[in-house]
Symmetry: C2
């Protein structure tokens, strides 16, 4: 088990939570203008209810260098007040090797994130600079949560699966599934994660069967309308005897939590209530499925 996976397991168990809060700051929705203060208040109100925080870096880049300064503050604040919580940077990075080296350096060395989301279109070789950070997590996008995800990700592809020792040659499968299969081959450091949207529970089931025990980030519950119950059920790993434990799954919600209450005085409590409700709903499904904490 990699240091990252162990860190994630510890974070989920400590707070008995699979909730990941997306810190997607939007001046049009925030009840206060100061990004630093907003994030600090959200973190203070929720840090015992989550396993991870996931700032989507695009939302900070859109605010220019000031936005990135605020992200810097947010990261160091979380490190101080919630040192055990996982810090995941949603960045969907991916480029040729010599460029990926720089992205990895930025995300892991400069920003000091525990994990990052990446795009595998350029192949495993292009992502190796990320995986080389053996103590950090690398989440490869398999099936995204957007309405147009199927355009490429659900296309049938014709891999030559003989190299993997699987049955048959030229076995067809959707591209997202092949991405999961290939990703497992890049996992020599045990620090692989995958991204599968809550909007596609069937695809999540397929990916979990292909990649047992691999952490899966599941965005898209809440505002995007993803299926919470099926996401939790399909994310569960079952051992040979049918027993189950809370899965390596991060259920991400951003808008549904941080903008649950948009009043200046009430937003921290609003976020706390929404995060707690999501955690309880998830834990209820885990109980029903015989996988309690």
């Amino acid at each position: 088990m990699s240091k990252f996976t162990s860190r994630l397991d510890s974070a989920t168990r400590t707070n008995r939570s699979l909730v990941c809060i997306g810190l997607d700051v939007d001046p049009a929705l925030m009840p206060i203008a100061d990004v630093r203060k907003f994030n600090r208040a959200i973190v203070d109100a929720t840090k015992d209810l989550v396993c991870a925080y996931k700032p989507n870096i695009a939302f900070y880049e859109a605010l220019g260098l000031e936005g990135l300064q605020a992200l810097r503050d947010t990261v160091s604040y979380i490190r101080k007040v919630a040192p055990d919580v996982v810090l995941l940077c949603d960045a969907k990075r991916g480029d040729i090797d010599s460029t990926s080296i720089r992205y990895a350096r930025a995300i892991f060395d400069f920003w000091d994130f525990d994990a990052v989301t990446v795009n595998g279109y350029m192949g495993g070789e292009s992502l190796s600079p990320f995986f080389d950070y053996a103590d950090r997590g690398v989440f490869v996008v398999c099936r995204s949560s957007n309405p147009g995800a199927q355009e490429f990700q659900d296309m049938m592809v014709l891999p030559d699966t003989t190299e993997l020792g699987m049955d048959g040659q030229g076995q067809k499968m959707p591209l997202y599934e092949w991405m999961a299969v290939r990703s497992s081959e890049w996992n020599s450091n045990g620090n692989l994660g995958l991204v599968v949207g809550a909007t596609s529970p069937d695809q999540l089931c397929t990916v979990r069967l292909r990649c047992p025990e691999v952490p899966i980030l599941i965005p898209g519950v809440g505002a995007q309308g993803g299926e919470l119950e099926m996401s939790v059920k399909n994310g569960i790993d079952r051992s040979a005897d049918g027993s189950a434990t809370p899965p390596r799954v991060l259920i991400n919600s951003a808008r549904g939590i941080i903008y649950a209450d948009r009043s200046t005085g009430g937003f921290p409590d609003g976020a706390r209530n929404a995060a707690g409700k999501l955690r309880d709903e998830i834990n209820c499904v885990l109980e029903q499925e015989g996988a309690p904490w």
Copy 2:
């Protein structure tokens, strides 16, 4: 023709050049430590020899907020001293719609780039916020220049091509080609560009046939060993009568130009000589192919 394409045509014609210089700043290779001064000197020495500058934002992100401050300076300096040259941000961005809105805002509004490179794995719907900036260019990665590009991009896929009015159903083609075909469908504003590495001249030929007149960014000549002559030849668009004009192609070189001479006093002249040589080599091929300026 979009404002971006017209701007690109004007830039290439003015300097009679298809050369794009990759401003990939690397402290380990730069003869002087100051990124601002280094870039200014490179720009001063080459601005009459190029059609575009392409900072790869990863190299600046790796240097933290100071690196991004230096990029800010570089962009505004280029706008001042070379207002007609195209400024392309190599960022390979791509995420769901609500996130792409933020990336587009960052690249086009905050950074004020003319164009950006993007990743289409999440589908055309996810990239629409970039294409909605009708006066900016959006370069979709089809076939990248890295050794592992073939892992997904050359896989045979089974699109249902009937919707495009093409011959046959379930016609097989490689994923990179399908990416080019689909990209053309997203081009209602005429601001599409494509990325095809110089390391794969056959794939470039295929993409050019699928997408006549679309600007193509060709990275990978020089340090990556790409084929210059074939890249230029295969990038040329021929009209029905066989006549040809200089193509909408940007031949990118980074290391081969900006680190051609690594001495403190000599690097600007070294870059100028390397850029001039590349421009001349390209123009020589254009002459031979009956497509002179």
